[in-house]
Amino acid sequence: MNVITVKNLTISYNKKPAIKGINLNIESGNVIGIIGPNGAGKSTLLKGMLGLLPFDTGEIKIFGNDINKSRKRISYIPQREQFDWDFPINVEDVVTMGRFAHLPIIGFPKAIDKTIVEQVLKKVEMDKYAKRQIRQLSGGQQQRVFLARALAQESDVYFLDEPFVGVDAKTERTIFALMKELKDNGKTLLVVHHDLGMVKNYFDKLIMINQTLIAFGDSEKVFTPELVNKTYGGRLTLLQKTEEFIV
C-alpha cells in the first residue's frame, strides 16, 4: 500500500524553486534515506510532505488522503539545533507532548498516556532521566528523548531530520535498532541524512535529490558512483543555471 504519494511537487522560497517536479510513491515498511548536498532541498522535501510549507504546484497524499486527515499518524523529529535547550521543561514533559495529538482540544494526559510515556522512555533507556531538565543531557540523550516523543505518538510514518548528527555511539546504535524495529512493525521512516558513510547499512531505499529528484529506489541499486556523482557533483545544476537567467 502506498503510504505517501508525491506528484509533481514544487516548493519555492522567494520565488526561487528549492525543489522542483518531485514524484514519489512510498510504500509502507521501509526505512528511506533522503540524501543530497547542502541546499539540495532535503529538509524542504521533508517539510513539504509534512504539510508545513505552502507549495507552488503538485499534490501530496498520505494514506490516500489530504495531510490534514492523517496528522495523528505522522510524527516529526526535528534537528536538534532548533530548540531552546534552556526551556523550563524536563524529559518526561517533552515525551508527553507526543500524546497531545491524541488528546481533545481541551483535555489533559490521562493514566494511559503516562504509562505510554514511561514505556517509551524505558525503550530508549532514558527512564532514569525522566525529571532532568533537557539542557542537562548529552547530545545523544537529547536525541533519544525526541525519538521517545515520536514513539509516544504511536504514529505510522516517522520523519527524522538528521538524527545522527552529533550523537554518541550508544545513541547511534539505539536509533538504528529502533528504526529497524519500527520498520519490522510495518512503519515507514523517512530520514534526512548527511553523511554518505553508512547509507547502505541504514536505509532500504534512497531518495537522492538535488533540487530535482535524481534517483529513487533500493539502496543497493541506486547508491552507485554515477548517481552519487550526479547528486553531489558539479555545484551548479542545470536548474540553478537557468534560474540565473530568469532572476
Binding site: 496528522r71 516529526y76 530548540f83 523550563p88 521543561i89 514533559d93 507532548m97
Partner: protein, 422 residues
Amino acid sequence: MDLLTKYLLEPVQYEFIQRALIASITIGISCGLIGTYIMLRRMSLIGDALAHAVLPGVVVSFIVAGKSEVALFIGAVISGILTVLLIGFVNRNSKIKEDTSIGIIFTGAFALGILLVSQLKQVHIDLSSYLFGDVLGVSTGDITLSLIIMVTIILCIILFYKQLLLTSFDPTMAMTIGISTTLVHYMLMTLLSMSIVAGLQSVGVILIIAMLITPPATAYLLSNSLKKILVLSSLFGMLSAVAGLYLSYHFNFASGASIVLVAVTMFMLAFLFSPKEGVVTKLIRRRGASRLVLIEDVIKLSYRFSGDENKTELTDKIANELGISNGKVESAIRTLIGKGLMNRVDGKCILTDDGKKYATRLIRTHRLWETYITKEKVTDMEHVHPEAEKIEHVLSEDIVDEIDEELGFPEKDPHGSAIPKK
C-alpha cells in the same frame, strides 16, 4: 500595636487602599502568568509595543463613551490587536524585519494617542496617570475589570496549557499535529492586551512591560519547571505590586515606579543569589570546587610518594609537582588532618586508612575515565591525561561504577597502569 503592624495595617482602613490592594494583587497575577509566555517566546519587545499601542484605543473610547471601564477595555484590546495585525502585515509584505516593524508601528500608535489627547480639549484624560500609573486612584469599576481579566487569563492558561506549551517550545511539531500556531498567537496577544489594560491604571503604559517580564525572569532563574515558574512569577508580581503600593502610600513615591523598582530588586537578588544560577552562588561554588581539587590532589600525591619524607619535604615535593605555593599545600594538609584522612607520626605526614581508601578511589576514577574516553574516542591519547585530571573530582561513585561496568571491568588503563578495584 507594634510599629510594623501599624505600618502594614494602618493604610488598609481606607477604602481606596483596599481597592488599590486588590488591583495590585490581580495585576501581579495576570501579568506574571501572561508574562511567563511572553518571556519564553522571546516577545518582550512586542509586549512593550502593545502597552504603548493601546493608548489611541483608550482615548477613542473616552471620546465615544466617556469614562466607562467597559469601553476602555474594548478600545484598548481592539487597538492592541490592530497593532499586532499591522506589525505582522508590514513584516510579511516587505523585507523589513519584525523588530523594526514593531518599532515603527508601536511608536506611531503611541504618538497618535498623545496627539489625540493634546488636541481634543473636551477629553479630560489625565495623561500622566496613564503614562506612569496611579495605583491609589483605582476605581471600583477598575477592580471588577481586572478581576474578570485575571479569571479569564487563569482559565485560558489552564484549558489551553498544552497548546501554549507546545507552540512555545516546538511550533513545528505543533503544526504537524494540527495545532494552529497563528490562533494560539492571537489568543496570547488578546490576553496580553487584556493584562495591559488591567495594569494601565496602577503601573502605566511606560512601565507595565516590567510587570510582564521582570517577575517571570526572576522565577525563571529559580526554577526549571514551567508550572513552578507560572506560580512563582504571579507570586513575585503580586508581592512587588503590594510592596510598591505601601512604598507609594508611606513615602508618597510614584506608584508605578515603586512597584517596578521592587520587582527589579527581587530580580537582582535572584540574579546574584539564586541557588542554581546566581552569580555569587556560582562564585562561591567555584571556590569550593577548586579547594576540593587542591585537597584531592594533595591526597593523591601523598599516596604516591614513599611516606619517608618529613612534613617539609613532603610539602616541597607536592608544591613543586602541582606548581603552587607551600602555604596552600600546608593548609590542605591541615584540612586532611582535621578530617582524619592524615596523621602526624614522628614529624611525618602519613595517610590514615580512610585517607588511603580515598586516594585509591581517586586513582580508580582517574584511570577508568581515561580508559572510557579513549574507548569512546572522545579525544585522542595525548589529550587524555589533562581531561581525566579535571573530571575525576566531579564524577560520583555511581557514575564511576557505571563506567566500570560499561567497559567490562578493565584491569589496565590506556597507559598500562593497573586500575584499582572497588
